[in-house]
């Protein structure tokens, strides 16, 4: 804000100082009262220093702008990383939990085992979609979509990549 105010007012200062210097040159400078001579001297000093001041202000403004942009980018990267981490860890948790229950023999009957396998399959698909979402910007906006080989079967986890389509938003969770 301060930098922008300085940038706006400086051209006016330069013009006024140049006009004052011109007036002093045309008139009998020594005959002027001392306050007027002092004021004209200050104007002349402004003319001499204004370019450096103006360029300095512009450099400061540029630096401030670059810093703000850098901070903004870092924050957005952090948010994106945080969101990506959350979106990947959530289905991983389901997969890990179901696998552990199956490995420990906690699922006593076929129905429960099939339920857990189907859960693993759906979470694998979700994880794939999330990874595609994350990689989409690097692949020119396209994404890989998956198709079930046998809808409803426990083998839903094994899916085939088919076509490229538009990107969709992250799932909640």
């Amino acid at each position: 804000m301060i930098h922008q105010a300085r940038l706006r007012i400086l051209p006016l200062v330069v013009v006024l100082a140049a006009a004052a210097a011109q007036a002093a040159y045309a008139a009998d400078f020594a005959a002027f009262p001392w306050p007027l001579r002092l004021a004209l001297g200050l104007f002349a000093l402004s003319v001499a220093t204004a370019p450096a001041y103006w360029f300095g202000a512009r450099a400061e403004a540029d630096l401030a702008q670059r810093l703000a942009a850098g901070i903004d980018t870092a924050l957005r990267r952090h948010e994106h990383g945080s969101l990506a981490g959350h979106e990947m860890k959530t289905p991983l948790t389901g997969i890990k939990a179901y696998l552990e229950l199956l490995a420990d023999g906690d699922a006593d009957d076929d129905a429960t085992r099939a339920e857990f396998l189907a859960g693993i399959g759906s979470q694998v698909e979700r994880l794939e979609r999330t990874i595609d979402e994350l990689l989409a910007p690097m692949n020119g906006g396209g994404r890989r979509v998956v198709q079930q080989t046998a809808p409803g079967a426990a083998s839903d986890a094994f899916v085939q990549p088919v076509t490229l389509g538009k990107s969709s938003s992250f799932e909640g969770g």
Binding site: G85, G94, A97, L101, D106, G172
Partner: protein
């Protein structure tokens, strides 16, 4: 009488796996899909232990814990937090200010969670036996 545990998470598969593991281990398990639903369950019948996700719709885990700590009947309720954003949470604040026993980072192991639950409920069980 088995200890009652309330699980609160908006991820159905996580709730299902945790519920299965804890029920199989003999606990009386109730489930809620968000903080508001969990709070209604707590008001209806306070559990012996609350396991809650941190990031949820309607009311998040921290808001739920705040409510739990504000109410006299549930002020001492043991709480375990599940989170996929563990590194972003202030664990000290959760422990010191909100009395959270432990934050379990996702992906977690149901086996480890069960051990933690047993530890969290052990003093009560021992007291009940005496």
């Amino acid at each position: 009488m088995s200890a009652s545990i309330l699980i609160c998470d908006d991820e159905i598969h996580i709730v299902r796996a945790v519920q299965f593991k804890l029920t199989r281990s003999g606990y009386d398990v109730r489930c809620a899909a968000d903080g508001q639903q969990a709070w209604r369950e707590i008001e209806r019948c306070p559990p012996d232990l609350l396991i809650t996700d941190y990031q949820m719709p309607n009311m998040n885990g921290l808001a739920l814990i705040e409510r739990v700590r504000e109410r006299a009947e549930t002020r001492e309720l043991p709480v375990i937090v599940l989170s996929a954003k563990g590194f972003e949470l202030s664990l000290r604040e959760l422990a010191d200010r909100w009395g959270v026993l432990q934050v379990m980072d996702k992906p977690f192991s149901p086996r480890q969670l069960l051990r933690l639950v047993e530890m969290a409920l052990m003093p009560r069980a021992v007291l009940a036996e005496n």
